[in-house]
């Protein structure tokens, strides 16, 4: 069975036709063309022989005993009956509900909407607007930091005022000294 000889490939332009020829799926014209070619081409003959040897082996189906098919049929029929029963059971459940189902579902939908508005405090933006982007905490200045900076600003302002007062007093004192000196500039 084993053959270590290199594989002989069929002529490329005939390979597909040979597969169809094996399955009997080519037209009369194609079949005549293939047969004429086979008469002269050893590689393609070998290819077709390979197909005839291999493909039927692969297709070999297991023959099941009649008991298997009887059991198969009974099971399938039983499953079909169950499936149909289930379908009718659901239908029988839903049938009496149909008259009031539509208003009931409508009322429920309105109730959900009202509850949503009430608990959302009537703010429709909650439903419409996208949520604000989350900014990392370390970037945000917290309230204490703001107070600190405000205090610093205030202290700085006070310091400036004090410096200004000191400068004015010094200037005044200097003026007074000049005025008190003889020959000083009036």
């Amino acid at each position: 069975m084993e053959n270590s000889a290199p594989l002989e490939t069929a002529c490329k332009q005939y390979e597909e036709d040979l597969v169809l020829h094996y399955y009997g799926e080519n037209s009369d014209k194609e079949r005549r063309g293939v047969e004429e070619h086979l008469a002269t081409c050893h590689s393609c003959r070998r290819f077709l022989e390979d197909l005839r040897g291999l493909l039927p082996q692969m297709a070999g189906a297991e023959e099941m005993p009649q008991a298997f098919w009887d059991s198969y049929y009974r099971e399938t029929v039983s499953k079909l009956a169950e499936q149909e029963d289930r379908k009718y059971r659901w239908r029988s459940l839903f049938k009496p509900m149909r008259t009031w189902m539509v208003p009931a579902f409508g009322t429920a939908a309105v109730a959900v909407l009202v509850l949503g508005l009430v608990f959302g405090k009537g703010d429709l933006r909650l439903f419409i607007e996208p949520r604000p982007e989350r900014i990392p905490q370390e970037i945000l200045a917290d309230e204490k930091q703001l107070e600190f900076f405000e205090s610093m600003d205030m202290l700085e302002a006070l310091g400036k005022l004090e410096n200004q007062d000191d400068w004015k007093t010094d200037a005044l004192n200097s003026d007074l000294k000049h005025a008190a000196l003889p020959g000083g500039v009036a």
């Binding site: 594989l7 094996y22 399955y23 493909l55 297709a59 189906a61």
Partner: protein
């Protein structure tokens, strides 16, 4: 009832669509072997093939109202079976191919004992060939594999394979050619 047994598929389908389950049961009997064998070709497992093919009948019956008669019942039904098998293969991520020339579930040792003419070297060669075919089919694109299994194993015509696969006959020819060429290539040492 005897008349119903003789009815054509289309007539049985029409009556089944009106709620006559018995007519559908006739279709089950008519197609159960084919359905099972397709599923077996894909799965190589008796129980799985049985479950999948039975599931196909259940789905076909549940969706029978959607069948508009533009194609034949069996191409429509084959499509259901094939789709279930492909879904199953996707879930399992493998398609097992247990045997080339026989498909028994018995362990190899028991088969060898039962068949004294089965030489050990033949067994080894057959085992290797099976493995190669298994590998080739497993790695083959699913459309090529489907076309090959439906034509080679189920004996569907290329026209019917095209209907089942909802594609053209030309495309099926290409799939079939590629599948056969790949399988032959994989078995080069055994031909």
């Amino acid at each position: 009832m005897a008349d119903q047994q003789q009815m054509r598929d289309e007539e049985l389908v029409a009556l089944s669509q009106q709620g006559d389950r018995h007519c559908f049961e006739i279709l089950v009997r008519r197609y159960m072997e084919k359905a099972y064998h397709i599923a077996f070709n894909f799965t190589r497992d008796t129980e799985t093939a049985k479950d999948l093919s039975q599931d196909a009948f259940l789905r076909a019956y549940a969706n029978l109202k959607q069948f508009d008669g533009r194609s034949s019942f069996y191409t429509w039904f084959y499509r259901i079976v094939v789709n279930l098998c492909l879904d199953h293969a996707r879930r399992r991520r493998r398609v097992a191919w247990e045997s080339l020339d026989y498909t028994s579930d018995e362990p190899a040792e028991q088969r060898q004992l039962a068949d004294s003419t089965y030489a050990p070297d033949q067994q080894a060669i057959a085992g290797e060939a099976k493995r190669r075919v298994d590998q080739t089919l497993e790695t083959m694109p699913k459309k090529q594999r489907t076309a090959f299994l439906l034509r080679n194993h189920q004996g569907l015509s290329i026209a019917d394979v095209a209907k089942v696969m909802k594609t053209t006959e030309g495309t099926v020819r290409v799939y079939l050619h590629r599948a056969v060429a790949a399988l032959r290539q994989s078995l080069v040492e055994f031909v």
